[in-house]
C-alpha cells in the first residue's frame, strides 16, 4: 500500500479539524434558543462554506453529510424525523452551494451562502409540510422565514469570506516561513 503524501495527510487533517468544528457548532446551535423549530442561524454552514472555498466541492459535500450524522449521533436524533429534515435540508443546501459556486460567474461566498440558506429553509418546510405534519397551512409561515434566512445567509457568508481571507493570509505566512 502506498504511503499517502504529506500534503494529502495535511489536507485530511485540516478537513477533520473543520469537521470537528462544524459538529461542535451544530450541537451548540441545537442547544441555543431559536425563533422557531425550523429556524437556526446556520453557523455550521459557515464551516461548509470555508471548506468549499479552500478545499473544494468534494470535501464540502462530505463535510456537510458527516456533520449531520455526527451531530445526530451525539444529540440522539439519528433516523428520527428531525434527522430526516436536517439531512434533506443540509444536502439540498450543500448542492445549491456547489452549483452557485461553480456556475454563477464572479460570485462570492455571500451569494453562495444566501442561496444555501434560502434553499435550506425551503427544504425544511417542504419535508415537514409534505411528509411529517402534512398540513399545507404550514407554508403560510414560509415567506417570513425565508426573509430571515436571507439575513442570516448574508451574514454567514460575510463571516465565511472573512475567515477564508484570514486563512489564506495565515497559509501565505506559513508557506513563506518554510522557505
Amino acid at each position: 500500500m502506498m504511503r499517502p503524501e504529506p500534503q494529502q495527510l495535511q489536507q485530511q487533517a485540516r478537513w477533520l479539524a473543520f469537521l470537528l468544528l462544524a459538529s461542535g457548532l451544530h450541537i451548540f446551535e441545537s442547544a441555543m434558543p431559536s425563533l422557531g423549530p425550523w429556524f437556526k442561524l446556520g453557523l455550521a454552514n459557515i464551516v461548509t462554506l470555508i471548506v468549499l472555498a479552500t478545499m473544494g466541492v468534494r470535501y464540502a459535500l462530505a463535510l456537510a453529510l458527516a456533520r449531520i450524522i455526527i451531530g445526530a449521533l451525539l444529540l440522539g436524533t439519528l433516523l428520527t424525523p428531525t434527522f430526516i429534515v436536517s439531512l434533506v435540508a443540509t444536502l439540498s443546501a450543500a448542492s445549491v452551494m456547489v452549483v452557485v459556486w461553480r456556475y454563477v460567474p464572479n460570485v462570492s461566498l455571500l451569494g453562495v451562502s444566501l442561496c444555501a440558506a434560502v434553499v435550506h429553509m425551503a427544504a425544511q418546510f417542504w419535508v415537514v409540510g409534505a411528509w411529517i405534519i402534512q398540513q399545507e397551512v404550514l407554508y403560510q409561515l414560509l415567506p417570513p422565514f425565508l426573509l430571515l434566512a436571507c439575513v442570516t445567509g448574508w451574514l454567514n457568508g460575510s463571516l465565511a469570506r472573512y475567515m477564508v481571507a484570514q486563512l489564506q493570509v495565515r497559509d501565505g505566512e506559513y508557506i513563506a516561513s518554510k522557505k
Partner: protein, 137 residues
C-alpha cells in the same frame, strides 16, 4: 481544485457583496415576494372549515387536508364529533337527541353548514367564492 480570489480584508467590509451577489439577492427576494403573493392568493381561495360553539370559534381546519381530522366539539348537551376527510366534512356523532346533524351527511361546498341546534354547534365551510349554489339550496 478551484479556489476563487477572496478580496475582503475586514469583517464589516465583508458585508459588501459583488454585483453577482446583489443580483442573486434580488432574484431571491423576488422569488420570496412571488411565493408570498401566491400563498396569500391560495389561502384566500382555500375552503376552510370553521367549528363554532354559539359565537365562539373553536377550531379552523383546511377542507382539503391530506390527513383526516377528528375534532370533538363540546356543546351545551354534550359533544359533537366533526370528521374532515378528502375535502368533505360531516358530524359523525352527536350527543343531541334528534341526530339531524349526523343525518345531514357530508358537505363539501363553500357556504355549506352543519348545525347542531340542541348542542349549539355550527360547522361552516368558508372561502373566497361565496357559494351562490349553497344559497339556492
Amino acid at each position: 481544485m478551484r479556489v476563487k480570489a477572496i478580496s475582503s480584508t475586514g469583517l464589516l467590509h465583508g458585508l459588501h457583496g459583488r454585483p453577482s451577489d446583489y443580483v442573486l439577492l434580488l432574484l431571491v427576494l423576488l422569488a420570496i415576494g412571488m411565493a408570498a403573493y401566491q400563498l396569500r392568493h391560495d389561502a384566500g381561495s382555500t375552503p376552510m372549515v370553521h367549528i363554532y360553539h354559539a359565537q365562539t370559534l373553536l377550531a379552523t381546519y383546511p377542507l382539503q387536508s391530506k390527513q383526516a381530522i377528528h375534532f370533538i366539539a363540546h356543546g351545551d348537551v354534550g359533544t359533537s364529533e366533526v370528521w374532515i376527510e378528502r375535502g368533505k366534512v360531516r358530524i359523525i356523532h352527536s350527543s343531541c337527541r334528534t341526530k339531524a346533524c349526523v343525518l345531514s351527511g357530508e358537505h363539501h361546498r363553500i357556504g355549506d353548514m352543519i348545525a347542531c341546534v340542541p348542542n349549539r354547534i355550527l360547522v361552516t365551510i368558508e372561502g373566497k367564492q361565496h357559494a351562490l349554489d349553497a344559497i339556492s339550496q
